[in-house]
């Protein structure tokens, strides 16, 4: 045991791979938050009046709210006047093609392993990239447009499709839903917008990469996905940030609306800078993600691989309104060093015969703390609702924590709600077995952890599953030696 602890101790020396800063000309506004700042942001983006109203309403609500205290997290006080709420790469004109994009920026995305240039040719993935606050480029826009699919930056959507944004914005996550959602609603600068018309299956994965580059900036992006009747889309979000000693704030909102028989798959690979091995720096990640299965037999599934951030506070949820609608949550959350994660989901059953499944795989190493928090709520009208939850925790070493907080509220007798939970330690016998076949302990742990998470990783689109596997192994390097 002693031996393994020593081993686990050492696995934590691997450096964050994405910690570079891109040197490009950036347009920033002074730090701090006020109604004036919000007006400046709105004006810079030439927003329609209703958007400014939405922001101000959220801001006024936010002023009266408090940062939530119920999570199993130690959150240092955040000075919201010390954050910069808008930063944009300056020569961010309207790019017609990638060749016009700042070469430094293209270089950044190459370092991130997203060869946008290649992706132009590589059919399959359309990428929207949000750097700091502004959406830089959207590839494949034209190809998608032919099918009537709108996939663009949130800013463009506000200018080009204001009626759609106005109709759906805040439907899943109202402007004053919670402290961080309200903050986001007040100051969000950009994000992605996606609209799939009736009967259309989106022919490729849609993908957004978020990156925080400028020092002292918060990133507040907003994503809105609307899937009309009988449509289908699979959407992936990835994120990274430079290494910095100070903490940076990320408070995003994602809203999904699925109409009759529509299906939306939303996958996240979250790899924000987690801080160094002593717990200095790192992103504070406070995210509200909610999907509404509004139509009958609609389906929303959230799949997340969370390896980054100093603090993660995130509960992608499904509101199952339509009869026979289905919600799914699949999560791998890995914490190492001094990282803290409190993550899980809410499944709200409202319609008849609604079904939800929750699969959560927590992995804790180092001195980290990892909590699953989930609510399954069955309303009185949700006849024959079904939920199955499986929450597993895997501990590496003896200095980390794993916690499970399942909340179940059942208001309809015909429903069936099942919850299973396990906690296990990574087996020394498993590691020795691998060693005996010539596999080093570090590789063995990567392999065992990936095996443990496989059920969830298998839900990711192929190309991202491979990326996620590497990420899990890398994130544990230095926690064993």
């Amino acid at each position: 045991m002693e031996n393994q602890d020593k081993l686990l101790n050492d696995i934590t020396t691997q450096e964050y791979q994405y910690g570079f800063v891109t040197d490009i000309d950036t347009d920033v506004i002074p730090k701090g938050l006020s109604e004036d700042v919000i007006r400046v942001i709105s004006a810079k983006k030439n927003e329609p009046e209703f958007m400014l109203e939405f922001r101000l309403k959220a801001y006024r609500g936010w002023l009266k709210m408090e940062s939530p205290k119920w999570a199993h997290l130690r959150i240092p006080p955040i000075d919201f006047q010390e954050t910069i709420y808008y930063a944009a790469p300056r020569n961010q004109a309207k790019y017609q093609s990638l060749d016009e994009v700042d070469p430094e920026l293209v270089e950044t995305f190459k370092k991130l392993g997203i060869p946008i240039e290649e992706q132009k040719h590589l059919a399959g993935v359309a990428v929207d990239v949000v750097m700091d606050s502004v959406s830089v480029t959207t590839t494949f826009k034209k190809v998608l447009a032919e099918k009537g699919i709108i996939f663009c930056s949130f800013s463009d959507a506000l200018l080009e499709h204001p009626e759609l944004v106005r109709k759906y914005l805040g439907m899943s996550v109202p402007p004053t839903d919670n402290f961080f959602a309200a903050l986001n609603s007040a100051v969000f600068s950009d994000g992605s917008f996606c609209y799939i018309p009736k009967g259309v299956r989106c022919p490729m994965e849609l993908s957004t990469y978020f990156r925080i580059n400028t020092a002292g900036t918060g990133q507040f992006e907003r994503t809105l996905i609307i899937a009309e009747d009988d449509s289908y889309v699979s959407y992936l979000e990835g994120c990274t940030a430079p290494m910095r000693d100070e903490n940076q704030l990320h408070a995003a909102v994602v809203e999904i609306i699925a109409m009759d028989r529509a299906e939306v798959k939303y996958s996240t690979v979250q790899n924000w800078y987690p801080g160094d091995k002593n717990g200095v720096g790192g992103i504070y990640n406070f995210v509200t993600k909610r999907g509404i299965c509004k139509g009958e037999s609609s389906k929303i599934s959230w799949t997340q691989v969370e390896t980054g951030s100093a603090i993660t506070w995130k509960y992608p949820s499904c509101v199952l309104i339509g009869d026979n609608s289905v919600g799914e949550f699949n999560s791998v959350a890995l914490t190492n060093h001094h990282q803290q994660a409190d993550t899980g989901t809410k499944m709200i059953h409202i319609g008849k015969n609604t079904k939800s499944t929750i699969t959560s795989k927590g992995i804790s190493a180092g001195k980290s703390d990892n909590s699953y928090r989930g609510l399954v709520k069955v309303l009185p009208g949700a006849t024959n609702a079904r939920n199955y939850s499986q929450c597993d925790s895997l501990l590496l070493g003896s200095t980390c924590g794993a916690h499970t907080f399942p909340y179940i509220e059942v208001g309809n007798k015909s429903s069936i709600v099942e919850h299973e939970a396990t906690t296990s330690k990574i087996g020394e016998d498993q590691i020795f077995y691998c060693n005996q076949r010539g596999i080093s302990t570090e590789d063995a742990i990567g392999m065992i952890v990936n095996g443990y998470a496989r059920e969830v990783l298998n839900k990711l689109p192929m190309e991202f599953a491979v990326e996620a596997q590497k990420l899990l192994a890398i994130s544990l390097e230095g926690s064993v030696g």
């Binding site: 498993q430 020795f432 077995y433 005996q436 076949r437 010539g438 095996g451 496989r454």
Partner: protein, 250 residues
């Protein structure tokens, strides 16, 4: 190839190996027998480098190197293979991925290029045929849900893939049905060359009918208390251990 001198080891403060002496040369097959709890698996695990055991004294020389100095993975890559008495399950890790990593680590150690997917699959197919291994097993997670016999067969399959210099088979015959025992024994024999050696830990003569040992040792209470030729195993089968126990307890 392997020289063990006065090896003593303990687990959880309890001395299990109390002075083992054994010499194994290339081309030889040694059988180690002995009552339950006498320390056979402990010896196998100590040779493979399991960290639960504390070495209290003695030395082990393998191919001229101090074996006890090497990490378990380096011992493996240097040609020491242990077929586990109780192979562990690794959920979610497909056998084929596991083996590929293993084979390529061994190759890297020898300065060879990793096998391509095609080469690897070809090698795997050949070895699977040799051991009549159900082809679906390699797509499943390592040992997960394998029957007792399948696990043992899978150990020998891995041995066939890695072609070790020194193979230590800890009760590989236990749990095998009659046909499987013959197939596994044939496999072990087929892998035998003048350059490698095998240590068979077993309770039963029937394995030794197929894989003929050059030496048979009886381990009792942490010591090798009797050694002999293949006839010793037959004698044990007939008389049990009491006559040896009584002799050594005095």
């Amino acid at each position: 190839m392997l020289i063990i001198k006065n090896l003593r080891a303990s687990v959880e403060g309890k001395e299990i190996l109390k002075g083992i002496n054994l010499e194994v040369n290339a081309g030889e097959v040694h059988a180690i027998m002995g009552p339950n709890g006498s320390g056979k698996s402990t010896l196998a695990n100590v040779l493979a480098g399991k960290s639960d055991y504390e070495i209290l004294g003695g030395e082990v020389t393998y191919e001229g190197q101090d074996l006890l100095e090497l990490s378990p993975e380096v011992r493996s890559r240097s040609g020491v293979f242990l077929s586990f008495q109780y192979p562990v399950e690794i959920p979610g890790v497909p056998m084929v991925n596991f083996l590929k990593a293993s084979v390529n680590e061994h190759r890297k150690f020898k300065g060879l290029e990793p096998l391509t997917a095609g080469e690897f699959l070809k090698l795997m197919r050949a070895k699977k045929e040799m051991l009549h291994l159900d082809s679906e097993l390699t797509n499943r997670s390592v040992n997960e849900g394998f029957s007792g016999g399948e696990k043992k067969k899978n150990e020998i399959f891995q041995m066939a893939m890695l072609e070790p210099k020194l193979a230590i088979l800890d009760e590989t015959d236990s749990g095998l049905d009659i046909d499987a025992l013959r197939i596994v024994a044939e496999g072990v024999n087929a892998l035998k060359t003048a350059d490698n050696a095998t240590i068979l830990v077993t309770h039963y003569q029937r394995l030794l009918d197929y894989v003929i040992p050059d030496f048979v040792h009886v381990l009792y209470n942490g010591r090798i208390v009797k050694s002999g030729g293949k006839e010793l195993a037959l004698e044990l089968e007939e008389k049990g251990y009491d006559w040896i126990k009584n002799g050594s307890d005095q």
